[in-house]
């Protein structure tokens, strides 16, 4: 009966090489029928990427398959020669990678790039090749595909590049497409576009799809069956709906439980004078200047009005390029304004006295998205957290040490002060960044996508930590994110930004229940976490 399966993986075991091998994948078995869509879910370190790299035998050096069998389309790939594998890769199994910025060769025009794969596997004339490429680009909804052939990858946005990548994979009409976190680098709307296309086209061509992701929402929306991996072990397998709505294994239940939830018991914010007022702010970047023409500045923020009151959590939502990060930086005086004014506790940022400025640096803090680049790799955790206090008057060394310890204890990292950043996990690093922000007892924290680089369970921990600290200390928070599911959990008010302008603003519940702008409605529809919740509540 094995002929019914396109892919059969049986007892796959992968270990690191070396004198003390470590198992990365312990006996994984699963099957995939032609045209079926299978999701593989897991957090970092679960071995999900390893498993899928192993199928076309593209493992990186240092790890190897020690046991198990991979049958694809009636052929045993574990024993296939390198030559046979080359014929299978591309033509039989297509791969879409996570990073559209690096998976296309920046030095090749799109046309050349797509023709390369085709020329390798199919014997076609130039005209026919061109025709097929243009037709496929049209299918992935690239505007003006003829012109696109002569463009370079950098002329396309991330979402478009990922669609071009998809086109290049589908051109060879593979029987299986493996997509490894294909939309993690994209914003919500581009993500939806890419995945809808992927599902539509694979269904049409009868191609099997293996979607690897950490995002349960995507699995819920786009797959038939799902596998859940935990630390190299398959813990649950089954119909996607079944797995997500009635998880059997505690780990799956924990994952599902980590999805952001609606919270109803937020205290209403008192109507006091605002801590942050953004009044008609305009931020411009120098445009590209040519040889003869001078640069016209590009407006990234265009007349934004926004206030944040003490103790209020305002979510700033938008896709990539919406200007949300820039607005966050501008609120902290890190980006010069080309127009308008930003006031902190009533004082314009540009007109602060020396003392006011020093206090502003204590009272307004920033938590970054990437916990790996936001901590100086050469400094100890204690020094990093204490840096905020260097300019606060009246704090001596002993007091500083005491406050740093208290702050670290508050984020659950007691005794970590002597470590270096690389000795900590992503979640721990992000908690260090939070400790650094709260150590000076701030009035405002700008949090720029603080959880989007983290695994789902860690996301929940960090979010709850921020919520708890906010409730205890009462700071205001400008929470920048692209994920509406997170917004619903944490924010009092939502501000939706599109191309540097506010398109919607209101209390969180009101916006979610009755979005007025079309852009917000699109965002809501594209948020996978909300789809999953609908599934779980159904």
């Amino acid at each position: 009966m094995s002929e019914a399966f396109l892919l059969e993986v049986d007892g796959l075991r992968i270990e690191t090489e070396g004198p003390e091998p470590r198992a990365l994948l312990e006996g994984l078995s699963f099957t995939l029928r032609p045209g079926e869509r299978l999701g593989i879910v897991g957090e970092s370190g679960s071995g999900k990427t390893m498993a899928t790299r192993a199928i076309p035998r593209l493992l990186s050096p240092g790890v190897r398959i020690v046991a198990g069998r991979i049958r694809f389309d009636g052929r045993d790939l574990t024993t296939a020669s390198e030559e046979e594998l080359r014929a299978v890769r591309g033509a039989g199994i297509g791969l879409v990678f996570q990073e559209p910025m690096t998976s296309l060769n920046p030095a090749l025009k799109i046309g050349r790039q797509l023709a390369e794969g085709l020329a390798l596997h199919r014997r076609l004339g130039d005209a026919e090749m061109r025709e097929r490429i243009v037709a496929m680009l049209r299918r992935v909804r690239i505007k003006d595909p003829e012109a696109a052939l002569d463009r370079y990858p950098h002329e396309f946005s991330g979402g478009m590049r990922q669609r071009i990548m998809l086109a290049s994979v589908l051109l060879l009409a593979p029987k299986l497409v493996i997509a490894d976190e294909p939309t993690t680098a994209l914003d919500t709307l581009s993500q939806r576009e890419v995945l809808e296309l992927m599902v539509e086209l694979t269904a049409e061509f009868g191609t099997g799809l293996l979607l690897i992701t950490h995002d349960l929402g995507l699995v819920a929306q786009y797959t038939d069956r799902a596998l859940v991996l935990e630390k190299g072990v398959l813990v649950e397998e089954g119909d996607t709906r079944q797995v997500l709505s009635a998880p059997k294994h505690p780990y799956t239940a924990k994952l599902v439980g980590s999805m952001p939830k609606r919270v109803e018991d937020r205290q209403p914010v008192a109507d006091t004078s605002p801590v942050l007022e953004i009044d008609g702010a305009v931020v411009e970047y120098a445009g590209k200047s040519g040889l003869l023409r001078s640069a016209a500045p590009v407006r990234v923020i265009d007349g934004v009005e926004l206030t944040v009151r003490p103790g209020e959590i305002v979510a700033l939502v938008g896709g990539s390029g919406s200007g949300k990060t820039t607005l966050g930086r501008a609120s902290l005086g890190l980006k010069p304004l080309a127009g308008g004014e930003i006031r902190f506790r009533g004082v314009p940022l540009g007109q602060m006295s020396r003392g006011q400025r020093a206090d502003f640096r204590r009272a307004a803090q920033l938590v970054f998205q990437d916990p790996f680049s936001s901590l100086d790799p050469r400094m100890r955790i204690g020094e990093i957290v204490g840096a905020t206090l260097r300019h606060v008057p009246g704090i001596d060394r002993a007091e500083r040490r005491r406050r740093v310890a208290a702050s670290l204890a508050d984020v659950g990292l007691t005794g970590f002060g002597d470590r270096l950043p690389h000795q900590m996990s992503g979640g721990q690093r992000q908690r260090v960044a939070i400790a650094r922000a709260i150590v000076g007892d701030p009035d405002l924290i700008v949090a720029d996508e603080p959880v989007s680089a983290l695994d789902l369970t860690i996301q929940l921990q960090v979010l709850s930590l921020m919520q708890r600290l906010q409730a205890e200390r009462g700071f205001a928070c400008l929470f920048i994110t692209h994920d509406l599911a997170v917004v619903e959990q944490i924010a009092d008010r939502v501000v939706v930004l599109d191309q540097g302008r506010i398109v919607e603003e209101g209390a969180t519940e009101a916006v979610f229940a009755d979005p007025r702008s079309g852009y917000t409605r699109e965002l809501l529809a594209a948020t996978p976490g909300l789809a999953l919740r609908a599934l779980a509540e159904a």
Partner: protein, 267 residues
């Protein structure tokens, strides 16, 4: 990997030992001429033989080590110190300062380094000091460029922004966050530059504008050995091997040091 580290420490240690030994003991007077024993083959009395003036090659190589290494150290120190300061300045301040620095470096880079050094020595007169100054200036532009590009990428890291959020001044940020994280490329640069300087100094001596005779350097030893290549190849082999061993040792030491200073390198 471990072999490289051992080789780096070993060869560099040997070099230092030979130099130190040279201060207290040399087998012969390295500049004493002995016309009865010219071009003698290596033997028990003269381990590495004698040159065309009957001077002991082993003694000359030992003294040459001291002079060559001293010149290289001074040149590298000068070029790295100036280049790092200017590179950090250009990369961090940007604007016209940066443009001025880059234009000046490009102007210097437009000349072949050895030609530039020749011209400068012609002006300053041949002496150890002018060699150091000429070579340091020739190596300055590449130092500035490498340090500047490292700084340019580091200043965009978020921990540098975090330092601004904390209210740190630009100088402090540069000293505390940017410079320490720029050290790995600087170390690699310094060690490879050391090698290049030893070679350049040899080349200058070879061309006759290096350290004036009779003072020996590996370069002028090679240069004066050239006419005797066929009859007395050992004359070239001794200083040549010294140069190779020094370069190998210093480069491997540099790699080891770089890994040592990287906080992420697990131990």
């Amino acid at each position: 990997m471990r072999v490289n580290v051992a080789l780096g420490y070993g060869l560099t240690g040997l070099l230092i030992a030979v130099i130190l030994l040279g201060f207290v003991w040399l087998p012969y007077d390295p500049i004493a001429i002995d016309l009865d024993h010219t071009l003698a083959r290596p033997s028990l009395s003269h381990w590495l033989g004698t040159d065309e003036f009957g001077r002991d090659v082993a003694a000359r190589a030992m003294l040459g080590a001291r002079i060559s290494v001293l010149i290289a150290l001074q040149t590298v120190a000068l070029a790295i110190a100036l280049g790092t300061a200017l590179g950090v300045l250009g990369g961090f301040v940007r604007g016209w300062t940066d443009r001025l620095l880059m234009t000046a470096s490009d102007a210097i880079l437009a000349f072949p380094g050895i030609l530039l050094a020749l011209a400068m020595i012609a002006v300053l007169g041949p002496s150890r000091h002018s060699i150091v100054i000429a070579l340091a200036i020739a190596y300055l532009p590449s130092t500035i460029r490498i340090v500047r590009s490292a700084v340019l990428s580091i200043r965009e890291r978020e921990y540098v922004e975090a330092s601004r959020v904390a209210g740190d001044g630009a100088l402090y940020t540069m000293w505390r966050h940017v410079l320490p994280n720029a050290t790995p490329p600087i170390i690699v640069l310094a060690t490879s530059m050391f090698g290049w300087v030893v070679l350049s100094e040899s080349a200058l001596s070879f061309l006759g504008v290096g350290v004036p005779p009779p003072e020996p350097t590996w370069g002028n030893m090679l240069s004066s050995a050239r006419p005797y290549m066929h009859g007395a190849a050992y004359l070239s082999i001794a200083p040549g091997l010294c140069i190779v061993a020094t370069l190998l040792g210093i480069n491997m030491l540099g790699d080891a040091l770089r890994d040592r200073f990287d906080p992420r390198a697990g131990r």
